[in-house]
């Protein structure tokens, strides 16, 4: 400001200002000199429009063209496939070279494949997978409901937040298998025990994710919402929920991982004929029968399901949320 007033000395200031706005200022001058007095307003509007269009074109960076699908496929799918093939190759090589010795046995990939396809048969393994996925889905759905309610309450009620938030973070660190003994003492070896463990695994993550998402809503959005006339439920629906969504979804993503992990641990420990076979129970069966191929096969299946649901469902959802908001890292 001081500079501007200081340089204002008759003609010298004019020169300085034209320099500052460069060709733009000069262009306006020559254009206005060429036109008559009457259509000046219209003309200045036109000039403004063209000027603005030019600025917009300059400001808008070259539009990123979407990569062709096969390029995406190569960059996303190829590396993990290669990693998988290499792992299998090393594994097979180790077995062929008889690296294992003494009591440590290592079945080859082929043995594991056989035990999954023939020994246990698609029907029995399929039933176990179905059982586990079914339990995980129910447990996760219940966790989302409970975690959301807890998250909303804790985020909104200050004393509750002070009391419960450290506990929620702490629960995330506690392996939820630790609840199995208590569950068995309370509920016996029943579905209730398994669901308790799954809930205690997933609920804290979902609640913490939601609280985090709500905390990170920029206050200006809420003020804008209020100024636009969003009050009460409208404010929650049109501003708060969409603004908190990324944190909530990443909480759910983590919640799914915890739910699946807890379920496997619970199934491995809580075994009863009334519960039916889950993948965890298959693993326990493998342990009891010293069936190493089956144990390794079960681990692979647990991995495939855990990763698969994340990749099919949560990862794309999260990616989309971040991309539309211009927050994606890529």
């Amino acid at each position: 400001m001081a500079n501007e007033t200081a340089t204002f000395e008759s003609g010298s200031f004019e020169d300085a200002s034209i320099d500052a706005s460069g060709g733009v200022g000069v262009g306006i001058d020559s254009a206005s000199a060429a036109t008559a007095a009457k259509p000046v307003a219209d003309n200045s509007q036109n000039r403004l429009a063209t000027l603005e269009a030019g600025l917009d074109a300059l400001d808008t960076a070259a539009v990123k063209t979407r990569r062709p699908w096969w390029r995406v496929l190569i960059s996303r799918v190829l590396p993990p496939v290669v990693a998988l093939v290499v792992t299998l190759a090393i594994w097979d090589l180790l077995v062929v070279m008889h690296v294992h010795s003494g009591e440590i046995m290592l079945p080859g990939p082929g043995d594991v494949w056989d035990s999954l396809t023939t020994n246990w048969g698609p029907s029995r393994m399929g039933a176990a997978i179905w059982d586990s996925v079914y339990r995980a889905a129910i447990g996760f759905a219940a966790s989302v409901v409970i975690g959301t309610v807890i998250g909303l309450l804790v985020a909104r009620i200050a004393p509750l937040r002070a009391a419960v938030q450290p506990l929620l973070s702490g629960l995330q660190n506690l392996p939820s298998v630790a609840w199995v003994p208590i569950g068995i003492i309370w509920f016996g070896v029943t579905s209730a025990t398994i669901y308790t463990v799954v809930l205690l695994g997933a609920v804290p993550s979902i609640a913490v994710g939601l609280i985090d998402g709500l905390d990170r809503v920029p206050p200006i959005y809420l003020r804008v919402g209020r100024n636009l006339g969003a009050r009460g439920l409208d404010s929650v629906r049109f501003v708060l929920i969409p603004a908190a969504l990324p944190g909530y979804v990443s909480g759910m993503k983590q919640g799914w991982a915890f739910a699946w992990r807890s379920l496997m641990a619970a199934e491995l420990i809580a075994i009863s004929p009334s519960l039916g076979p889950g993948v965890g129970q298959v693993m326990k069966f493998a342990q009891d029968n010293l069936d190493l191929s089956l144990a390794i096969g079960s681990i692979i299946i647990i991995l495939i399901i855990g990763i698969g649901i994340n990749q099919l469902f949560f990862a794309p959802l999260e990616r989309r949320l971040l991309r539309t908001r211009g927050l994606s890292r890529s």
Binding site: S17, E52, R226, P242, G326
Partner: protein, 282 residues
């Protein structure tokens, strides 16, 4: 001379007001605390373009928040025609989960506009700021200037008679800002909306305002005001605009200088300094 200085616009108080502030004070915390705003009387006529100018600490943004009804006044009263005013911020504050059109449609929806009308109305508003092509763009895909134009269209969608602008162009580069000054002036003339425009940029105030009000800092009081009769469209380089800017800057500097004297004067009286000196002695 196209600039007239008018310290008590008595003619204005007779006309009806779009915004009327009577003895408005604001303090955060206890009443005994130093107020941010102290006894502001201000009347803005319908369709008037008023610029509020001041150094930091003059409470100009606080004042807009009060007029927008986002914060309660501590004393005094504020009347706004139609009961509400649209507010535009320095950051565009467009909702990033919505497209440009979506942001405008939300404003329309919250105003109670039916679904069928929303789309066409949003299109009309976007074309008003010359962004027909950007309807499906999201905030992060737009430049700063384009974002502020969408924000302006969203504010217009509220159809409030008063538009409050809180340093809306402060974050833009000088070239873009200059173009948006022209845009805003044209829209103001076209719509007849009342504008209360907060800025710390003297030349911007002189370029835009029909009236420029200088606020003092800590506490914010109306220090002086200028009636600006330079016809629009003006240019920021116009001699008359520069002349006015120079005069306002001088006055602004006088206001700021007062604080320097005040700080020096009070520093010697302050016990904190004294105790430091005694400690140094001992």
């Amino acid at each position: 001379m196209t600039v007239t200085i008018d310290e008590a616009p008595s003619a204005r108080t007779l006309t009806e007001a779009a915004v009327r502030l009577s003895g408005v004070s604001k303090w955060f915390g206890k009443e005994t605390d130093k107020p941010v705003l102290d006894g502001i009387d201000l009347t803005v006529a319908p369709g008037e373009f008023v610029c509020l100018l001041g150094a930091s600490g003059c409470g100009k943004s606080t004042l807009l928040n009060l007029v927008a009804g986002l914060d309660p006044v501590s004393a005094g009263s504020i009347e706004v025609t139609g009961g509400r005013a649209a507010l535009m911020f320095q950051e565009s504050a467009l909702f990033p989960w919505l497209t440009a059109a979506g942001n405008i449609e939300l404003a329309l929806r919250l105003r109670g506009v039916g679904k069928a009308q929303r789309r066409s109305e949003a299109e009309r508003l976007l074309s008003l700021v010359r962004l027909e092509g950007a309807a499906h763009k999201r905030a992060h895909e737009l430049s700063g200037g384009m974002r502020q134009r969408v924000a302006l269209a969203r504010a217009l969608a509220q159809q409030a008679e008063v538009l409050l602008m809180d340093e809306p162009f402060a974050a833009l580069d000088a070239i873009t800002r200059d173009v948006l000054h022209g845009e805003l002036t044209a829209l103001w003339q076209e719509t007849g909306v009342t504008v209360l425009f907060v800025t710390h940029n003297v030349r911007e105030a002189a370029r835009l305002g029909q009236r420029v009000i200088l606020l003092s800092s800590r506490p914010g009081r109306v220090a002086r005001e200028w009636q600006v009769d330079i016809p629009q469209p003006r240019r920021i380089e116009d001699a008359a605009v520069s002349e006015l800017a120079r005069e306002i800057t001088d006055e602004l500097h006088r206001e700021i200088t007062k604080h320097a004297r005040f700080a020096q004067g009070s520093a010697t009286q302050r016990s904190g300094i004294k105790s430091k000196e005694t400690r140094r002695d001992g």
